[in-house]
């Protein structure tokens, strides 16, 4: 029952991460870097290379790309380098959907500003590069280690954890606890549309940890047998809230209402200077506008929201019911006339897929408000309450 694994027709292994880069990026990057970076350095390409192996998180990949930009730069003054960096940063921020990229760019910008001055330019540039590289190669992976070390204390023997989607930090924490011979049982949500929960399942069962995939809609159902909720994050915002793959907010709401502790894991390089007032208030580059201007394929991860093929195709209303994203008004019209634009196209293909418009309004991330989070475990030391996270951020950015 609880193991409602839904191995349906999962899209064949979502490429790198659910939120990771789409296949068709070359067009945009080619045209953009051509005009953006006068030296012809392809910052987006560098970013893509960095993110490709699937081990590097978005902020670090962005920093790596910027370090490469500094290396390739032929500017001879700090100002020149700064302006090139700004252009590169803008190119990254404006095309990448992950907020982690923005966080990484902000971090690098601050580092660049703080380390400025003192030495002559060539040695400054060299130290910038070496520090950036060592940060990405040594400090950043250590962050995750540190978090796992801190978070493992929260995991008791014989405890049941619910996690959402796929987070390397969460997995590392669980594996660490496993190595300490703690018996741990994990529920993981399927996390549509990326379905990265299946990946978590894969990794954990391969390591011999009992893991069950539950439907996103079954979160409330399993919550009563769960001891704690542990999630990763894409970014931590100034309010102390969490930007994470869509569905985290509802997991947090359910956990709160059932009195289960909700812990978030976040590396400090994911701290983002932004204060969202609502779910829609995120600085994610709008897809529609970039579409109209560059006329290229979307930057959005093309993981089609598929519908189980076992459902009979002749019943669009049922399919629609399983699709939480269609607007109520369109549901009404669909039940009357099944074939209208904007409904799952059942006639042409065997598979039921969402239309492009439906995918566009489909969010990839949501914001978990700080009042729902018990602790954010970071590499900064003792677990922080969301309030202290925001205080830390304000102190960092206001200096």
């Amino acid at each position: 029952m609880a193991g409602v694994a839904s191995p349906l027709s999962l899209s064949p292994a979502p490429s790198a991460r659910g939120t990771s880069r789409p296949t068709a990026q070359t067009h945009a990057s080619g045209s953009q870097t051509g005009k953006n970076s006068p030296k012809g350095f392809d910052v987006l390409g560098a970013y893509k290379r960095a993110i490709e192996d699937g081990k590097v998180p978005h902020p670090i990949a962005a920093i790596l790309a910027l370090v490469e930009l500094v290396e390739a730069s032929t500017a001879s003054t700090v100002t020149g380098l700064a302006s090139e960096l700004t252009i590169g940063r803008q190119a990254l921020i404006n095309t990448q959907l992950s907020l982690g990229v923005r966080a990484g760019c902000q971090l690098w910008e601050r580092f660049f500003a703080l380390s400025m001055g003192g030495e002559d330019f060539p040695s400054y540039k060299r130290s910038l590069i070496s520090q950036g590289r060592s940060f990405c190669a040594i400090t950043a992976p250590q962050c995750r280690e540190k978090i796992a070390e801190l978070a493992v204390g929260f995991l008791r023997d014989d405890c049941v954890i619910l996690t959402h989607s796929y987070s390397r930090t969460v997995i590392q924490t669980i594996l660490r606890a496993h190595k300490q011979h703690k018996r741990i049982k994990v529920y993981v949500t399927e996390a549509r549309p990326g379905c990265l929960g299946m990946r978590t399942h894969q990794v954990l069962t391969a390591n011999g940890i009992p893991c069950t995939v539950v439907l996103d809609s079954a979160v409330a159902y399993v919550m009563e047998r769960v001891d704690m909720v542990l999630v990763g994050s894409e970014a931590v915002v100034e309010s102390g809230g969490l930007v994470s793959s869509v569905g985290t907010y509802q997991v947090a709401l359910v956990a709160k209402s059932m009195g289960k502790p909700f812990y978030a894991l976040a590396e400090s390089y994911k701290f983002l200077r932004h204060y969202p007032l609502s779910q829609t208030d995120l600085p994610i580059p709008s897809i529609s506008s970039s579409n109209s201007s560059s006329n290229s394929t979307t930057e959005r991860p093309l993981i089609p929201l598929e519908f189980p093929t076992l459902l009979p195709n002749s019943h669009p209303p049922i399919i629609n019911a399983s699709n939480p994203l269609s607007r109520p008004n369109s549901t009404g019209s669909q039940s009357r006339s099944p074939i209208i634009p904007g409904t799952p196209n059942t006639q042409q293909s065997e598979r039921v897929e969402m239309t492009k418009e439906m995918e566009l309004i489909n969010p990839m991330v949501d914001i978990t408000t700080p009042d729902l989070i018990d602790f954010i475990i970071t590499d900064l030391g003792a677990p922080l309450s969301p309030t202290s996270v925001s205080q830390y951020l304000v102190a960092q950015f206001s200096s």
């Binding site: 100034e238 309010s239 102390g240 200077r273 204060y275 007032l277 609502s278 208030d281 700080p370 309030t387 925001s390 205080q391 304000v394 102190a395 950015f397 206001s398 200096s399």
Partner: protein, 493 residues
């Protein structure tokens, strides 16, 4: 005794608001009765009253030991009371006595507790009449708000004759007091520019040192401005900054008087520019990002910063897309009706506006996307000190899950913690309060009714839990981060 019945409500309220006082009454009462009624109270000297109170406090302690006494818990508070009477002398004491009388006439219905009604306190004779024509300020002293500074029109002629006040300061004081210069930004800017003029005109006496003499020269002016209108947290911060700047002149030494004055004049200019003008600009830049096409933005009363945010957001939106726009709902309330000025500025800029009074707000808020508020101060716990009514707006917004953004410059951050709007506030003018614009004939003559207290508090306190975010010149911060900013205040700007 026709006015006995209405007096009950006022007596009840005063009784509620003085929970620390029931004790003294028990003891003081018989003595007063012995002196022969209410008129006797007035002649009693402050000294006598103090004595009485001390005795009462002792008695209170004794009574509180009696098990089952319902007032045992408040035995520890009379100190506040004695302090008050010490400050204000006999007048205060006498009004206190009247409060007590009313309180007893209204009997046990006011919830005074069984210990009072059963104690055999002598009742006033039925033909006793209240001392007539209490002035407004006396009535207000009766109340819970008696600690607040009285609002009196400043005595300009007396101020002029002292010779210690620069004319520009007197002019400024009158403007502030009359309400022509309103809004904490405007007042702070006015005050600092006035002091800039004062410093320009100032001539240091031969035997004195500038950095020692100037603060002494300025302090009567600061005190006089304070009597015209309390300067608030922002103004207080600015004055403190000015004094520290003057002090720093002492450390620097060997500079001519003219140089030192030039330095101060320039520093004040920089302060005004950086902490207020530039801060407002940055706040507007930050906050306008949150206003999107088609939004409905709610504002309350008038705030120069909020006005600027809305105007700039409108300008930017029109520049990028002529068809785009947003709606503003200006919420206003009596008696100041400041929102009308705001409305004028916004609608003349072409923003589509709706004007409502506060009672209608709950119906409007369900359609709102954002509430933008200004403020007079932001206390270190994140509580917003702003025009009275702001707390209601934020409360309703929270209820409707509309984000509330307070736009406050960091110079208005105060290090105090204020728990309610009672301990710190200002008494506003009450002359407009009882005037009914729809029916001028029904105006209640305040001077004829002595048991009526028209009360107008200028500010209220919005607790931090009702504020989603604070927009400052260092960006958006949660109200909980105010101490972090305060700790770094010296580094900011």
């Amino acid at each position: 005794m026709a006015n006995e019945t209405p007096s009950e409500s006022s007596a009840t309220s005063s009784q509620n608001k003085q929970p620390k006082q029931p004790k003294p009454t028990q003891n003081a009462k018989p003595e007063k009765a012995a002196t022969g009624g209410g008129a006797g109270d007035k002649v009693k000297s402050a000294k006598d009253l103090k004595k009485e109170k001390r005795a009462a406090a002792v008695a209170a302690r004794a009574v509180s030991d009696v098990p089952g006494s319902n007032e045992a818990g408040i035995g520890g508070r009379p100190s506040l009371n004695t302090q008050n009477s010490g400050i204000d002398g006999g007048r205060k004491g006498s009004t206190f006595g009247q409060t007590v009388q009313q309180h007893h006439q209204s009997g046990s219905s006011s919830g005074a507790g069984p210990s009072h009604s059963g104690a055999g306190i002598p009742k006033r004779p039925n033909n006793y009449s209240e001392p007539s024509a209490l002035s407004l300020s006396t009535i207000q002293q009766n109340l819970f708000f008696s600690h607040l500074p009285k609002q009196e029109f400043p005595d300009t002629s007396a101020a002029l004759t002292t010779g210690k006040l620069h004319p520009i300061i007197i002019k400024l004081g009158v403007l502030m007091s009359s309400g022509q210069l309103r809004g904490s930004n405007a007042r702070t800017m006015g005050m600092m520019s006035a002091f800039r003029e004062v410093i320009r005109d100032y001539e240091c006496p031969d035997q004195a040192v500038l950095w020692k003499d100037l603060p002494i020269y300025l302090s009567p002016m600061i005190a006089w401005l304070e009597t015209c209108r309390p300067k608030g947290v922002g103004g207080g911060n600015a004055i403190r900054w000015l004094k520290s700047e003057i002090n720093r002149l002492g450390e620097q030494g060997d500079r001519s008087e003219a140089e030192q004055k030039d330095y101060l004049v320039e520093a004040i200019g920089l302060y005004l520019r950086d902490r207020i003008e530039f801060a407002d600009k940055v706040i507007a830049d930050n906050a306008k990002e949150k206003i999107r096409n088609g939004d409905t933005v709610v504002t309350y009363a008038r705030s120069s910063v909020v006005e600027r945010v809305l105007l700039e957001a409108h300008r930017d939106m029109k520049a990028s897309d002529p068809g785009a726009g947003f709606n503003v709902v200006v919420v206003d309330s009596r008696p100041l009706l400041e929102g009308q000025q705001s409305l004028e500025a916004l609608s003349s800029a072409g923003i589509s506006c709706t004007y409502i009074l506060l009672p209608l707000l709950s119906s409007i808020l369900s359609q709102a996307d954002l509430v933008l508020l200004g403020g007079s101060a932001l206390h270190s716990d994140g509580a917003l000190y702003s025009r009275s009514g702001t707390a209601i707006v934020s409360m309703l917004a929270k209820e409707h899950r509309v984000p509330v953004v307070a736009c406050v410059e960091t110079y208005k951050f105060g290090e105090k913690v204020v728990l309610d709007g009672v301990s710190t506030n200002e008494l506003g003018k009450v002359d407009q309060l009882l005037i009914n614009p729809n029916n001028p004939k029904s105006n209640i003559q305040t001077s004829k009714i002595n048991n009526l207290t028209p009360l107008h508090l200028v500010y209220d306190v919005t607790p931090p839990s009702l504020i989603t975010a604070v927009c400052t010149e260092i960006g958006f911060i949660p109200p909980s981060s105010v101490p972090t900013v305060l700790g770094k205040a010296s580094n900011v700007v």
